[in-house]
Protein backbone atom coordinates (compact mmCIF):
# COMPACT_ATOMS: atom_id res chain seq x y z
CA UNK A 1 0.00 0.00 0.00
CA UNK A 2 2.11 2.85 -1.24
CA UNK A 3 0.24 5.64 0.50
CA UNK A 4 0.80 4.18 3.92
CA UNK A 5 4.37 3.30 3.19
CA UNK A 6 5.07 6.86 2.21
CA UNK A 7 3.43 8.44 5.17
CA UNK A 8 5.58 6.50 7.61
CA UNK A 9 8.63 7.31 5.55
CA UNK A 10 7.89 11.00 5.69
CA UNK A 11 7.29 10.90 9.40
CA UNK A 12 10.62 9.25 9.89
CA UNK A 13 12.90 11.27 7.67
CA UNK A 14 11.30 14.53 6.71
CA UNK A 15 14.44 16.39 5.74
CA UNK A 16 15.85 14.15 3.05
CA UNK A 17 12.74 12.93 1.37
CA UNK A 18 11.84 16.54 1.14
CA UNK A 19 15.13 17.17 -0.56
CA UNK A 20 14.90 14.23 -2.98
CA UNK A 21 11.31 15.08 -3.76
CA UNK A 22 11.71 18.34 -5.51
CA UNK A 23 10.45 19.71 -8.79
CA UNK A 24 13.94 21.04 -9.39
CA UNK A 25 15.49 17.56 -9.24
CA UNK A 26 12.73 16.10 -11.44
CA UNK A 27 13.28 18.68 -14.18
CA UNK A 28 17.02 18.41 -13.70
CA UNK A 29 16.79 14.68 -14.37
CA UNK A 30 14.98 15.32 -17.66
CA UNK A 31 17.33 18.13 -18.67
CA UNK A 32 20.50 16.20 -17.91
CA UNK A 33 19.05 13.15 -19.63
CA UNK A 34 18.32 15.20 -22.73
CA UNK A 35 21.86 16.60 -22.76
CA UNK A 36 23.32 13.08 -22.79
CA UNK A 37 22.19 12.65 -26.38
CA UNK A 38 25.44 11.06 -27.40
CA UNK A 39 24.93 8.38 -24.80
CA UNK A 40 21.35 7.38 -25.53
CA UNK A 41 21.82 8.01 -29.21
CA UNK A 42 24.63 5.50 -29.18
CA UNK A 43 22.80 2.98 -27.00
CA UNK A 44 19.65 3.22 -29.12
CA UNK A 45 21.59 2.41 -32.28
CA UNK A 46 23.35 -0.36 -30.46
CA UNK A 47 19.98 -1.89 -29.55
CA UNK A 48 18.92 -1.91 -33.18
CA UNK A 49 22.19 -3.32 -34.46
CA UNK A 50 22.01 -5.98 -31.78
CA UNK A 51 18.68 -7.13 -33.12
CA UNK A 52 19.78 -7.55 -36.67
CA UNK A 53 23.35 -8.56 -36.08
CA UNK A 54 22.49 -12.24 -36.32
CA UNK A 55 20.10 -12.02 -39.27
CA UNK A 56 21.22 -12.50 -42.86
CA UNK A 57 19.18 -9.58 -44.14
CA UNK A 58 20.73 -7.11 -41.72
CA UNK A 59 18.85 -3.85 -41.24
CA UNK A 60 16.43 -4.81 -44.02
CA UNK A 61 15.10 -7.49 -41.75
CA UNK A 62 13.08 -4.99 -39.71
CA UNK A 63 11.60 -3.45 -42.83
CA UNK A 64 10.84 -6.70 -44.59
CA UNK A 65 9.18 -8.37 -41.65
CA UNK A 66 6.90 -5.35 -41.29
CA UNK A 67 6.10 -5.45 -45.02
CA UNK A 68 5.31 -9.15 -45.01
CA UNK A 69 2.97 -8.86 -42.02
CA UNK A 70 1.14 -5.87 -43.42
CA UNK A 71 0.72 -7.39 -46.89
CA UNK A 72 -0.51 -10.71 -45.53
CA UNK A 73 -3.06 -9.03 -43.25
CA UNK A 74 -3.99 -6.49 -45.93
CA UNK A 75 -4.85 -9.26 -48.36
CA UNK A 76 -6.64 -11.28 -45.68
CA UNK A 77 -8.80 -8.44 -44.39
CA UNK A 78 -9.52 -7.03 -47.83
CA UNK A 79 -11.02 -10.43 -48.56
CA UNK A 80 -12.83 -10.75 -45.22
CA UNK A 81 -14.40 -7.29 -45.28
CA UNK A 82 -14.91 -7.28 -49.03
CA UNK A 83 -12.79 -4.12 -49.34
CA UNK A 84 -10.60 -3.18 -52.26
CA UNK A 85 -6.97 -4.09 -51.70
CA UNK A 86 -5.71 -0.63 -52.73
CA UNK A 87 -7.78 0.82 -49.92
CA UNK A 88 -7.27 -1.85 -47.25
CA UNK A 89 -3.55 -2.44 -47.64
CA UNK A 90 -2.27 1.15 -47.21
CA UNK A 91 -4.62 1.58 -44.26
CA UNK A 92 -3.37 -1.54 -42.48
CA UNK A 93 0.24 -0.84 -43.34
CA UNK A 94 0.28 2.63 -41.82
CA UNK A 95 -1.76 1.45 -38.86
CA UNK A 96 0.82 -1.26 -38.22
CA UNK A 97 3.80 1.03 -38.48
CA UNK A 98 2.27 3.58 -36.12
CA UNK A 99 1.02 0.93 -33.70
CA UNK A 100 4.46 -0.66 -33.58
CA UNK A 101 5.73 2.65 -32.21
CA UNK A 102 2.88 3.23 -29.76
CA UNK A 103 2.58 -0.34 -28.49
CA UNK A 104 6.31 -0.94 -28.03
CA UNK A 105 6.83 2.39 -26.31
CA UNK A 106 4.32 1.29 -23.69
CA UNK A 107 5.19 -2.39 -23.29
CA UNK A 108 8.94 -1.77 -23.36
CA UNK A 109 8.36 1.24 -21.14
CA UNK A 110 7.12 -1.13 -18.43
CA UNK A 111 10.56 -2.80 -18.49
CA UNK A 112 12.64 0.31 -19.06
CA UNK A 113 14.19 0.42 -15.59
CA UNK A 114 13.87 -3.25 -14.66
CA UNK A 115 15.79 -4.28 -17.77
CA UNK A 116 18.50 -1.73 -17.04
CA UNK A 117 19.03 -2.74 -13.43
CA UNK A 118 22.74 -3.31 -13.86
CA UNK A 119 23.36 0.03 -15.49
CA UNK A 120 21.27 1.84 -12.90
CA UNK A 121 23.10 0.26 -9.98
CA UNK A 122 26.58 0.67 -11.39
CA UNK A 123 26.73 3.95 -13.24
CA UNK A 124 25.21 7.14 -11.92
CA UNK A 125 22.97 8.71 -14.56
CA UNK A 126 19.62 10.48 -14.72
CA UNK A 127 16.86 7.88 -14.98
CA UNK A 128 15.41 9.67 -18.01
CA UNK A 129 18.44 8.52 -20.05
CA UNK A 130 16.89 5.07 -20.28
CA UNK A 131 13.60 6.49 -21.53
CA UNK A 132 15.31 8.68 -24.12
CA UNK A 133 17.13 5.57 -25.31
CA UNK A 134 13.87 3.65 -25.61
CA UNK A 135 12.02 6.36 -27.55
CA UNK A 136 15.04 6.90 -29.78
CA UNK A 137 15.20 3.17 -30.55
CA UNK A 138 11.50 3.11 -31.41
CA UNK A 139 12.00 6.16 -33.62
CA UNK A 140 14.76 4.35 -35.49
CA UNK A 141 12.45 1.37 -36.00
CA UNK A 142 9.79 3.74 -37.26
CA UNK A 143 12.34 5.20 -39.69
CA UNK A 144 13.17 1.73 -41.02
CA UNK A 145 9.48 1.02 -41.46
CA UNK A 146 8.91 4.23 -43.39
CA UNK A 147 10.76 2.51 -46.22
CA UNK A 148 7.83 0.14 -46.54
CA UNK A 149 5.53 3.13 -46.65
CA UNK A 150 7.66 4.68 -49.41
CA UNK A 151 7.43 1.51 -51.50
CA UNK A 152 3.70 1.36 -50.84
CA UNK A 153 3.32 4.91 -52.20
CA UNK A 154 4.81 3.72 -55.46
CA UNK A 155 2.54 0.72 -55.77
CA UNK A 156 -0.61 2.35 -54.39
CA UNK A 157 -0.22 6.13 -54.85
CA UNK A 158 -2.08 8.24 -52.28
CA UNK A 159 -3.50 11.73 -52.86
CA UNK A 160 -0.75 13.41 -50.83
CA UNK A 161 -0.55 17.19 -50.66
CA UNK A 162 1.21 19.82 -48.61
CA UNK A 163 -1.31 19.12 -45.86
CA UNK A 164 0.25 15.66 -45.52
CA UNK A 165 3.16 17.36 -43.78
CA UNK A 166 0.90 17.36 -40.72
CA UNK A 167 2.27 13.86 -40.24
CA UNK A 168 5.53 15.40 -39.02
CA UNK A 169 4.14 17.27 -35.99
CA UNK A 170 1.86 14.27 -35.46
CA UNK A 171 4.86 11.99 -35.10
CA UNK A 172 6.52 14.51 -32.80
CA UNK A 173 3.41 14.27 -30.63
CA UNK A 174 3.68 10.47 -30.64
CA UNK A 175 7.26 10.77 -29.37
CA UNK A 176 6.35 13.27 -26.68
CA UNK A 177 3.51 11.04 -25.51
CA UNK A 178 5.53 7.85 -25.82
CA UNK A 179 8.04 9.46 -23.49
CA UNK A 180 5.69 10.20 -20.65
CA UNK A 181 3.90 6.89 -21.05
CA UNK A 182 7.15 4.91 -20.87
CA UNK A 183 8.46 6.95 -17.94
CA UNK A 184 5.21 6.62 -15.99
CA UNK A 185 4.61 2.92 -16.65
CA UNK A 186 8.32 2.32 -16.10
CA UNK A 187 8.43 3.85 -12.63
CA UNK A 188 5.23 2.18 -11.44
CA UNK A 189 6.30 -1.19 -12.89
CA UNK A 190 9.59 -1.04 -11.05
CA UNK A 191 7.68 -0.88 -7.80
CA UNK A 192 4.85 -3.25 -8.74
CA UNK A 193 6.21 -6.18 -10.69
CA UNK A 194 2.84 -7.57 -11.72
CA UNK A 195 2.35 -4.58 -14.00
CA UNK A 196 4.53 -5.46 -17.03
CA UNK A 197 2.53 -8.57 -18.04
CA UNK A 198 -0.71 -6.68 -17.48
CA UNK A 199 0.61 -3.89 -19.69
CA UNK A 200 1.33 -6.35 -22.48
CA UNK A 201 -2.21 -7.76 -22.30
CA UNK A 202 -3.81 -4.33 -22.26
CA UNK A 203 -1.77 -3.14 -25.25
CA UNK A 204 -2.73 -6.33 -27.09
CA UNK A 205 -6.38 -5.73 -26.33
CA UNK A 206 -6.14 -2.13 -27.47
CA UNK A 207 -4.68 -3.30 -30.76
CA UNK A 208 -8.02 -4.95 -31.52
CA UNK A 209 -10.14 -2.14 -30.11
CA UNK A 210 -8.34 0.47 -32.16
CA UNK A 211 -9.06 0.82 -35.88
CA UNK A 212 -5.87 -0.67 -37.27
CA UNK A 213 -7.11 -3.62 -39.31
CA UNK A 214 -10.75 -2.51 -39.47
CA UNK A 215 -11.62 0.70 -41.26
CA UNK A 216 -13.27 3.07 -38.86
CA UNK A 217 -15.01 5.30 -41.39
CA UNK A 218 -16.61 2.37 -43.21
CA UNK A 219 -18.26 1.25 -39.97
CA UNK A 220 -19.26 4.81 -39.08
CA UNK A 221 -21.00 5.20 -42.44
CA UNK A 222 -22.55 1.78 -42.28
CA UNK A 223 -26.24 1.58 -43.21
CA UNK A 224 -26.72 -0.76 -40.28
CA UNK A 225 -27.55 1.63 -37.40
CA UNK A 226 -26.22 -0.62 -34.58
CA UNK A 227 -22.84 -0.94 -36.28
CA UNK A 228 -22.65 2.82 -36.81
CA UNK A 229 -23.46 3.60 -33.17
CA UNK A 230 -20.94 1.02 -31.94
CA UNK A 231 -18.35 2.62 -34.15
CA UNK A 232 -19.01 6.01 -32.57
CA UNK A 233 -18.13 4.48 -29.21
CA UNK A 234 -14.63 3.89 -30.56
CA UNK A 235 -14.08 7.63 -30.29
CA UNK A 236 -13.76 7.08 -26.54
CA UNK A 237 -10.59 5.13 -27.22
CA UNK A 238 -7.70 7.62 -26.99
CA UNK A 239 -5.50 5.47 -29.23
CA UNK A 240 -7.90 6.07 -32.11
CA UNK A 241 -7.05 9.76 -32.02
CA UNK A 242 -3.32 9.15 -31.81
CA UNK A 243 -3.58 6.94 -34.86
CA UNK A 244 -5.78 9.30 -36.84
CA UNK A 245 -3.60 12.40 -36.46
CA UNK A 246 -0.82 10.64 -38.33
CA UNK A 247 -2.61 8.10 -40.54
CA UNK A 248 -4.96 10.64 -42.14
CA UNK A 249 -2.17 12.88 -43.49
CA UNK A 250 -0.16 9.83 -44.56
CA UNK A 251 -3.15 8.63 -46.60
CA UNK A 252 -3.79 12.12 -47.94
CA UNK A 253 -7.09 12.42 -46.07
CA UNK A 254 -8.60 15.63 -44.72
CA UNK A 255 -7.53 17.35 -41.50
CA UNK A 256 -9.82 16.53 -38.56
CA UNK A 257 -9.38 19.01 -35.74
CA UNK A 258 -11.01 16.91 -33.01
CA UNK A 259 -8.31 14.22 -33.11
CA UNK A 260 -5.63 16.83 -32.56
CA UNK A 261 -7.53 18.44 -29.71
CA UNK A 262 -7.96 15.12 -27.91
CA UNK A 263 -4.29 14.26 -28.35
CA UNK A 264 -3.12 17.66 -27.13
CA UNK A 265 -5.32 17.48 -24.04
CA UNK A 266 -4.07 13.99 -23.18
CA UNK A 267 -0.49 15.13 -23.77
CA UNK A 268 -0.85 17.86 -21.17
CA UNK A 269 -2.66 15.67 -18.64
CA UNK A 270 -0.27 12.76 -19.14
CA UNK A 271 2.79 14.92 -18.64
CA UNK A 272 1.30 16.56 -15.57
CA UNK A 273 0.68 13.17 -13.97
CA UNK A 274 4.08 11.84 -14.99
CA UNK A 275 5.90 14.86 -13.59
CA UNK A 276 4.22 14.37 -10.23
CA UNK A 277 5.24 10.70 -10.21
CA UNK A 278 8.76 11.59 -11.34
CA UNK A 279 9.08 14.18 -8.62
CA UNK A 280 7.94 11.80 -5.90
CA UNK A 281 9.54 8.53 -6.98
CA UNK A 282 12.57 9.42 -9.12
CA UNK A 283 14.98 8.77 -6.27
CA UNK A 284 13.25 5.48 -5.39
CA UNK A 285 13.87 3.82 -8.74
CA UNK A 286 17.43 2.75 -7.86
CA UNK A 287 16.11 1.31 -4.58
CA UNK A 288 13.25 -0.58 -6.19
CA UNK A 289 14.92 -1.85 -9.32
Amino acid sequence: MPAQVLSTAVARTPATLHRSRSWGLAFDDLARGWRQQELWGHLGWQDIKQRYRRSVLGPLWITISMAVTAIALGVLYAGLFGNRLEEQLPYILIGFIVWAFIGSSITEGAMVFIANERLIKHLPAPISVHVFRLIWRQTLFFGHNLLVYAVMLVVFPQPLSLASLAAVPAFALLMVNGFWAALLVGIVSTRFRDLPPVTVSVVQLMFFMTPIVWIYEDLLNSTNETIASRARLAELNPFLHYLEIIRRPMLGESFELRHWVVVLVITVLGWALTLVVLRNYRARVSYWV
Binding site: V5, Q46, P124, W288
Partner: protein, 261 residues
Protein backbone atom coordinates in the same frame (compact mmCIF):
# COMPACT_ATOMS: atom_id res chain seq x y z
CA UNK B 1 37.44 21.44 -5.88
CA UNK B 2 36.25 17.97 -4.97
CA UNK B 3 34.60 17.43 -1.64
CA UNK B 4 32.20 15.02 0.02
CA UNK B 5 29.95 16.05 2.86
CA UNK B 6 27.63 13.47 4.37
CA UNK B 7 25.47 14.29 7.39
CA UNK B 8 23.73 11.62 9.42
CA UNK B 9 22.84 9.77 6.24
CA UNK B 10 20.99 6.48 6.17
CA UNK B 11 20.08 4.09 3.41
CA UNK B 12 17.13 1.78 3.97
CA UNK B 13 16.25 -0.87 1.42
CA UNK B 14 12.66 -1.97 1.30
CA UNK B 15 12.49 -5.73 0.89
CA UNK B 16 9.35 -6.51 -1.05
CA UNK B 17 7.86 -9.95 -1.19
CA UNK B 18 5.34 -11.31 -3.67
CA UNK B 19 2.55 -9.56 -1.82
CA UNK B 20 4.02 -6.11 -1.42
CA UNK B 21 5.38 -6.12 -4.97
CA UNK B 22 1.93 -6.62 -6.42
CA UNK B 23 -0.21 -3.74 -7.59
CA UNK B 24 -3.28 -5.97 -7.57
CA UNK B 25 -2.81 -6.76 -3.89
CA UNK B 26 -2.16 -3.11 -3.06
CA UNK B 27 -5.33 -2.01 -4.84
CA UNK B 28 -7.43 -4.77 -3.30
CA UNK B 29 -6.09 -3.74 0.09
CA UNK B 30 -7.21 -0.16 -0.43
CA UNK B 31 -10.70 -0.97 -1.63
CA UNK B 32 -11.32 -3.21 1.35
CA UNK B 33 -10.52 -6.67 0.07
CA UNK B 34 -9.13 -8.82 2.85
CA UNK B 35 -5.60 -9.89 2.15
CA UNK B 36 -3.99 -11.30 5.22
CA UNK B 37 -2.74 -9.52 8.31
CA UNK B 38 0.62 -8.24 7.07
CA UNK B 39 -0.42 -6.71 3.81
CA UNK B 40 1.09 -3.29 4.34
CA UNK B 41 4.22 -4.27 6.18
CA UNK B 42 7.42 -4.05 4.26
CA UNK B 43 10.63 -5.28 5.81
CA UNK B 44 13.56 -2.91 5.54
CA UNK B 45 17.29 -3.52 5.60
CA UNK B 46 19.10 -0.60 7.17
CA UNK B 47 22.21 -0.83 5.03
CA UNK B 48 23.63 2.46 6.36
CA UNK B 49 22.80 4.43 9.50
CA UNK B 50 23.99 7.76 10.84
CA UNK B 51 26.87 8.12 8.42
CA UNK B 52 28.70 11.42 8.81
CA UNK B 53 31.72 12.06 6.62
CA UNK B 54 33.81 15.02 5.54
CA UNK B 55 36.29 14.32 2.79
CA UNK B 56 38.33 16.98 1.09
CA UNK B 57 40.58 17.22 -1.92
CA UNK B 58 43.48 14.82 -1.62
CA UNK B 59 41.83 12.35 0.74
CA UNK B 60 42.60 8.70 0.08
CA UNK B 61 40.18 6.66 2.08
CA UNK B 62 40.07 2.91 2.54
CA UNK B 63 36.75 1.30 3.47
CA UNK B 64 37.11 -1.71 5.71
CA UNK B 65 34.49 -4.06 7.06
CA UNK B 66 33.09 -7.57 6.83
CA UNK B 67 30.76 -8.70 4.06
CA UNK B 68 27.46 -6.88 4.28
CA UNK B 69 28.89 -4.08 6.42
CA UNK B 70 27.70 -1.52 3.88
CA UNK B 71 30.86 -0.68 1.92
CA UNK B 72 29.34 -1.04 -1.52
CA UNK B 73 26.22 0.79 -0.43
CA UNK B 74 28.29 3.69 0.89
CA UNK B 75 30.17 3.89 -2.40
CA UNK B 76 26.86 4.03 -4.26
CA UNK B 77 25.61 6.70 -1.94
CA UNK B 78 28.72 8.75 -2.68
CA UNK B 79 28.30 8.23 -6.42
CA UNK B 80 24.73 9.54 -6.29
CA UNK B 81 23.13 6.26 -7.35
CA UNK B 82 21.31 6.10 -4.02
CA UNK B 83 19.98 9.29 -2.55
CA UNK B 84 19.93 8.91 1.24
CA UNK B 85 16.62 7.94 2.84
CA UNK B 86 17.61 10.00 5.89
CA UNK B 87 20.11 12.79 6.42
CA UNK B 88 21.96 14.42 3.55
CA UNK B 89 24.79 13.65 1.18
CA UNK B 90 26.40 16.32 -0.92
CA UNK B 91 29.12 15.44 -3.36
CA UNK B 92 30.98 18.09 -5.36
CA UNK B 93 33.10 17.03 -8.28
CA UNK B 94 33.04 14.62 -11.16
CA UNK B 95 32.57 11.07 -9.91
CA UNK B 96 33.99 7.99 -11.60
CA UNK B 97 32.95 4.68 -10.04
CA UNK B 98 34.32 1.20 -10.61
CA UNK B 99 31.97 -1.09 -8.76
CA UNK B 100 31.33 -4.75 -9.50
CA UNK B 101 33.34 -6.63 -12.01
CA UNK B 102 32.78 -5.53 -15.49
CA UNK B 103 29.75 -3.64 -14.37
CA UNK B 104 27.19 -2.25 -16.63
CA UNK B 105 29.17 -3.39 -19.60
CA UNK B 106 27.45 -5.08 -22.47
CA UNK B 107 28.84 -8.59 -22.98
CA UNK B 108 27.80 -8.76 -26.62
CA UNK B 109 29.71 -5.73 -27.86
CA UNK B 110 33.43 -5.20 -28.25
CA UNK B 111 35.83 -3.85 -25.67
CA UNK B 112 36.29 -0.68 -27.74
CA UNK B 113 32.56 -0.06 -27.81
CA UNK B 114 32.36 -0.64 -24.08
CA UNK B 115 35.12 1.88 -23.48
CA UNK B 116 33.17 4.48 -25.42
CA UNK B 117 29.88 3.73 -23.65
CA UNK B 118 31.44 3.84 -20.18
CA UNK B 119 33.01 7.15 -21.01
CA UNK B 120 29.72 8.54 -22.26
CA UNK B 121 28.04 7.39 -19.06
CA UNK B 122 30.68 9.20 -17.06
CA UNK B 123 29.90 12.43 -18.84
CA UNK B 124 32.52 12.43 -21.61
CA UNK B 125 31.74 13.17 -25.23
CA UNK B 126 32.27 10.69 -27.99
CA UNK B 127 35.08 12.80 -29.40
CA UNK B 128 36.90 12.94 -26.07
CA UNK B 129 36.61 9.17 -25.79
CA UNK B 130 37.86 8.59 -29.34
CA UNK B 131 40.95 10.59 -28.39
CA UNK B 132 41.54 8.47 -25.30
CA UNK B 133 40.87 5.04 -26.71
CA UNK B 134 44.47 4.56 -27.86
CA UNK B 135 45.85 5.45 -24.45
CA UNK B 136 43.39 3.14 -22.72
CA UNK B 137 44.28 0.31 -25.09
CA UNK B 138 47.96 0.72 -24.27
CA UNK B 139 47.38 0.93 -20.53
CA UNK B 140 45.09 -2.11 -20.39
CA UNK B 141 47.45 -4.18 -22.58
CA UNK B 142 44.39 -5.84 -24.02
CA UNK B 143 45.55 -5.37 -27.63
CA UNK B 144 43.43 -7.18 -30.20
CA UNK B 145 41.09 -8.41 -27.51
CA UNK B 146 39.49 -4.98 -27.58
CA UNK B 147 37.90 -5.96 -30.87
CA UNK B 148 36.23 -9.04 -29.39
CA UNK B 149 32.92 -9.09 -27.53
CA UNK B 150 33.27 -8.52 -23.82
CA UNK B 151 31.87 -11.95 -22.98
CA UNK B 152 35.20 -13.43 -24.07
CA UNK B 153 37.02 -11.48 -21.33
CA UNK B 154 38.16 -12.81 -17.99
CA UNK B 155 37.17 -10.93 -14.85
CA UNK B 156 40.61 -9.41 -14.56
CA UNK B 157 40.45 -8.18 -18.13
CA UNK B 158 37.16 -6.46 -17.48
CA UNK B 159 38.56 -4.75 -14.44
CA UNK B 160 41.53 -3.56 -16.50
CA UNK B 161 39.18 -2.05 -18.98
CA UNK B 162 37.10 -0.30 -16.33
CA UNK B 163 40.22 1.01 -14.60
CA UNK B 164 41.62 2.18 -17.90
CA UNK B 165 38.52 4.22 -18.58
CA UNK B 166 38.18 5.88 -15.18
CA UNK B 167 41.85 6.74 -14.92
CA UNK B 168 41.88 8.29 -18.39
CA UNK B 169 39.03 10.72 -17.93
CA UNK B 170 40.48 12.85 -15.12
CA UNK B 171 37.75 12.34 -12.57
CA UNK B 172 37.80 14.33 -9.36
CA UNK B 173 36.33 11.60 -7.20
CA UNK B 174 37.29 8.00 -7.78
CA UNK B 175 35.21 5.29 -6.12
CA UNK B 176 36.56 1.75 -6.27
CA UNK B 177 34.89 -1.37 -4.93
CA UNK B 178 36.75 -4.50 -3.95
CA UNK B 179 36.26 -6.17 -7.34
CA UNK B 180 39.35 -4.46 -8.66
CA UNK B 181 41.41 -6.91 -6.60
CA UNK B 182 40.71 -9.38 -9.41
CA UNK B 183 43.58 -8.10 -11.54
CA UNK B 184 47.04 -9.57 -11.24
CA UNK B 185 49.80 -8.04 -9.12
CA UNK B 186 51.87 -6.70 -12.02
CA UNK B 187 49.00 -4.82 -13.47
CA UNK B 188 47.98 -3.52 -10.12
CA UNK B 189 51.41 -2.07 -9.56
CA UNK B 190 51.05 -0.23 -12.82
CA UNK B 191 47.54 0.89 -12.01
CA UNK B 192 48.67 2.07 -8.63
CA UNK B 193 50.98 4.65 -10.12
CA UNK B 194 48.20 5.93 -12.29
CA UNK B 195 45.73 5.99 -9.43
CA UNK B 196 48.00 7.85 -7.02
CA UNK B 197 48.88 10.34 -9.76
CA UNK B 198 45.23 10.83 -10.33
CA UNK B 199 44.46 11.41 -6.68
CA UNK B 200 47.38 13.81 -6.30
CA UNK B 201 46.30 15.71 -9.37
CA UNK B 202 42.62 15.73 -9.04
CA UNK B 203 40.99 14.87 -5.87
CA UNK B 204 39.68 12.12 -3.87
CA UNK B 205 39.72 8.36 -3.67
CA UNK B 206 37.45 6.03 -1.74
CA UNK B 207 38.41 2.38 -2.02
CA UNK B 208 36.72 -0.65 -0.45
CA UNK B 209 38.90 -3.71 -0.04
CA UNK B 210 39.66 -6.76 2.06
CA UNK B 211 43.33 -6.66 1.15
CA UNK B 212 45.48 -4.83 3.68
CA UNK B 213 48.30 -4.57 1.15
CA UNK B 214 46.11 -2.97 -1.49
CA UNK B 215 44.68 -0.59 1.05
CA UNK B 216 48.15 0.43 2.27
CA UNK B 217 49.21 0.95 -1.33
CA UNK B 218 46.43 3.33 -2.19
CA UNK B 219 45.04 4.88 0.96
CA UNK B 220 46.15 6.86 3.99
CA UNK B 221 42.89 7.13 5.93
CA UNK B 222 40.68 4.26 7.01
CA UNK B 223 37.00 3.95 7.73
CA UNK B 224 35.75 0.81 9.43
CA UNK B 225 32.13 0.06 8.75
CA UNK B 226 30.13 -2.34 10.86
CA UNK B 227 26.43 -3.07 10.50
CA UNK B 228 26.04 0.00 8.35
CA UNK B 229 27.62 2.36 10.88
CA UNK B 230 31.04 3.92 11.10
CA UNK B 231 32.80 2.06 13.87
CA UNK B 232 36.13 3.82 13.55
CA UNK B 233 37.73 6.47 11.39
CA UNK B 234 41.38 7.59 11.40
CA UNK B 235 44.84 6.91 10.02
CA UNK B 236 44.74 3.74 7.95
CA UNK B 237 47.29 1.80 10.00
CA UNK B 238 45.45 2.37 13.25
CA UNK B 239 42.13 1.38 11.77
CA UNK B 240 43.60 -1.74 10.18
CA UNK B 241 45.18 -2.79 13.47
CA UNK B 242 41.94 -2.27 15.35
CA UNK B 243 39.95 -4.11 12.69
CA UNK B 244 42.32 -7.07 12.61
CA UNK B 245 42.21 -7.37 16.42
CA UNK B 246 38.46 -7.08 16.61
CA UNK B 247 38.07 -10.48 18.18
CA UNK B 248 35.49 -13.07 17.16
CA UNK B 249 33.62 -12.55 13.89
CA UNK B 250 30.74 -10.14 13.90
CA UNK B 251 27.26 -11.32 14.60
CA UNK B 252 24.80 -10.85 11.76
CA UNK B 253 22.06 -8.45 12.56
CA UNK B 254 18.67 -9.57 11.21
CA UNK B 255 16.77 -7.09 9.02
CA UNK B 256 14.56 -4.66 10.89
CA UNK B 257 11.06 -6.08 11.08
CA UNK B 258 7.75 -4.96 9.61
CA UNK B 259 5.59 -1.92 9.98
CA UNK B 260 8.09 0.48 8.57
CA UNK B 261 9.19 1.01 5.05
Amino acid sequence: MASIEVRDASVDFPIFDAKTRSLKKAVLGVVGGRIGPNASKVVVVEALRGITLDLQHGARVGLIGHNGAGKSTLLRLLSGIYEPTGGTASVQGRVAPVFDLGVGMDPEISGYENIIIRGLFLGMTRKQMDERVGDIATFTELGDYLRLPLRTYSTGMRVRLALGVVTSIDPEILLLDEGIGAVDADFLRKARGRLTDLVDRAGLLVFASHSDDLLRDLCDTGIWLEHGQIRMQGPLDEVLVAYNNRGPGPKRRPPAGGGRR
